[in-house]
């Protein structure tokens, strides 16, 4: 039933209807409302689960790893520094192929200290071995959460559901939350085939010698190739149940004859869609919504850029000192050597909560029309604010001293 609800509360309700048996989380802005909501649902008896209060995100991740290894469906959520504090355990959960779901209420990483939205936190754990799905609105946040449990338990790969902090978590908007019956029909009870069981003892997390380490890593990598199929199938099954598709790994909006494409992740999709709707050149523009960053849909992307002259890739995080944004480098690599590959402009935007306005579309199109636009740039920077810093004589003083 459609209801107007805050994103965090909608996510908490969706998680509860997936019937996790263990929830462990440490509150951090902007994730707090989600775990507060879950704590309330457990306290008032709506959800029969154990809520384990922990002293840090490191413990939260450790608890859900243990709970899932023992055969319980588990859930946690965090953001920013919290995700970084979890990092060591995140690698373990993924390396041991333990299914669980983690909501990342995407937030910038300190320093400078910021509580606001960008994608630096989830991007920082890009290589941890988790599936990463990004949500464009709160309907997708709810639906992806439900799909995530299914995907994780089917692939035995943990799933991060990435939801823009504040922009989605704190926004009240109409959301259709599926009924308990619908979710029960979609998501069977969790049966873990490698569960820790005193009657049938196994060892989990043992030392792996050089004889087998490479093979263990290669198997994990292969599992991601298979996960591509699972993510597609899950979206199909979900469509049969609810009539909603989330675009599997990558979806395309706009004209197939378009010459300019914009590839993006997360909630900026809605703003660009609205801007596109009233734009005079709308037939010329195609939006590529990247939902799955891991696994990265290389083949879907190669297909989606066909016919494009220019592809603008938006990055909401930064690998300082690199020659491009994190998504940008991935896209360049995927399209390298492809015949008639589009010119790629990689634009970093919306760091640390900088608003992404409707006018962003025109700004990006202007960049795409200018042959002098660099391959990589900060597209919404205020240059006057850093003039002094950039022209600071720090380096020249040192060279003069020599």
């Amino acid at each position: 039933m459609l209801e107007a609800i805050e994103g965090s509360q909608a996510i908490a309700r969706a998680v509860a209807m997936c019937r996790p048996q263990v929830v462990a989380a440490y509150p951090i802005t902007p994730q707090t409302h989600i775990v507060e909501g879950l704590s309330r649902l457990i306290a008032n008896g709506t959800l029969s689960a154990q809520y384990i209060s922990v002293e840090s995100e490191f413990s939260a991740a450790s608890v859900v790893m243990g709970a899932s290894a023992a055969g319980s469906r588990s859930y946690t959520a965090s953001a920013s520094q919290g995700i970084l504090l979890m990092t060591e355990v995140l690698y373990n959960i993924a390396g041991l192929r333990i299914p669980t779901v983690l909501t990342v209420a995407n937030r910038a990483v300190s320093a400078p200290l910021s509580i606001w939205n960008d994608h630096q936190d989830s991007m920082s754990v890009r290589d941890a071995g988790w599936i990463q799905l990004y949500c464009a609105n709160n309907q997708e946040a709810v639906d992806t959460t439900i799909q995530a449990f299914f995907i994780s338990e089917k692939t035995e790969i943990p799933v991060m559901v990435c939801v823009d902090g504040y922009t989605l978590t704190h926004t009240l908007e109409p959301v259709d939350i599926p009924s308990q019956e619908e979710i029960d029909a979609f998501l069977p009870p969790f049966h873990f085939r490698r569960t820790l069981d005193p009657q049938n003892p196994i060892t989990v997390g043992t030392l792996v010698s050089p004889d087998f380490f490479t093979e263990a890593r290669a198997v994990n990598h292969q599992a991601f190739k298979k996960a591509i199929k699972t993510i597609h199938e899950t979206d199909d099954l979900f469509f049969q149940l609810t009539g909603r598709r989330l675009g599997a790994l990558l979806s395309v909006t706009g004209d197939s004859t378009a010459k300019t494409g914009i590839l993006l992740m997360g909630s900026v999709f809605g703003t660009l869609s609205d801007a596109l709707f009233s734009h005079e050149e709308k037939d010329e523009i195609r939006l590529l919504k990247l939902r799955s960053f891991r696994p990265f849909p290389k083949e879907d992307l190669q297909e989606a850029v066909r016919g494009l002259k220019t592809l603008i890739v938006l990055d909401r995080s930064l690998s300082t000192g690199s020659d491009g944004g994190i998504v940008g480098m991935e896209v360049r690599s995927a399209l390298f050597g492809q015949k008639n590959a589009p010119r790629i402009i990689n634009a970093v935007v919306g760091l640390g909560g900088r608003d992404l306005p409707l006018s962003l579309l025109s700004r990006l199109l202007d960049l795409s029309k200018n042959p002098d636009t660099p391959e990589f740039l900060f597209a919404d920077i205020e240059p006057s604010r850093i003039l002094e810093e950039v022209s600071s004589p720090v380096n020249t003083v040192h060279s003069e001293e020599k």
Binding site: A4, P30, I115, L172, P174, S267, T271, D274, P357
Partner: protein
């Protein structure tokens, strides 16, 4: 589309006011969205929240840069340039204040804001009303009710329905009395535009 920006200080219920207005719009069959600009503020710090209301769904998740209406819960913020930024001359400003309308207009012009005769500004002493009915200085419900009455974009009944979903018993009763008192403070439908191409008739 109607876009509203709400200004106030942490603790005055700015986010609740935005959510309440969006919930009331949703109750009346409109598509609505509400969100705060800053979500981790301290009591007393200036904060703002946004509400969009439209007949049909929209997808944007950006801040409101040129609002049709401002609702200001703390009159000390009324004279800040950031507060009045982007507000459309054909829109309206509803503020919580104990000062009179001429006094507010006078102060605005003294500080260099050009105020035309036909600018829509309405003042309600919402804090005092809330103290009298609720025993707490929380002006949000009174102002939301006054705003709905002025603009006619949503019926008062839908606001009461939205409140009934959130509160019950004595708290609900107190809030409903705030709604009725808030509506009485302003001239009903005073901001409904007469011309057929105005925003309130076109969109909501």
């Amino acid at each position: 589309m109607v876009e509203i920006r709400i200004h106030g200080r942490g603790g005055q219920g700015i986010v609740s006011a935005a959510y309440l207005l969006a919930l009331a719009a949703f109750e009346s069959g409109l598509y609505a969205q509400a969100f705060p600009s800053f979500g981790a503020e301290r009591r007393g710090a200036p904060i703002s929240a946004f509400v969009r209301i439209n007949k049909i769904p929209f997808a944007r998740h950006c801040q409101i840069l040129s609002p049709d209406y401002l609702i200001i819960l703390d009159d000390s913020l009324l004279f800040l340039r950031e507060t009045l930024l982007g507000v459309d001359a054909s829109g309206g400003i509803l503020a919580n204040s104990r000062k009179s309308l001429p006094e507010i207009k006078n102060q605005l012009s003294k500080r260099g804001f050009s105020i035309r005769e036909d600018h829509r500004i309405a003042i309600v002493g919402a804090t005092e009303i809330s103290l009298a009915h609720l025993g707490k200085p929380i002006p949000n419900t009174v102002l939301v009710s006054a705003f709905i009455s002025l603009t006619g974009i949503i019926s008062g009944a839908c606001l009461e329905k939205a409140l009934a979903r959130r509160f019950a018993g004595e708290v609900l009763e107190a809030n409903l009395s705030l709604v009725r008192e808030g509506a009485r403070q302003v001239e009903e439908n005073a901001w409904v535009d007469q011309a057929s191409d105005t925003r309130s008739q076109t969109y909501a």
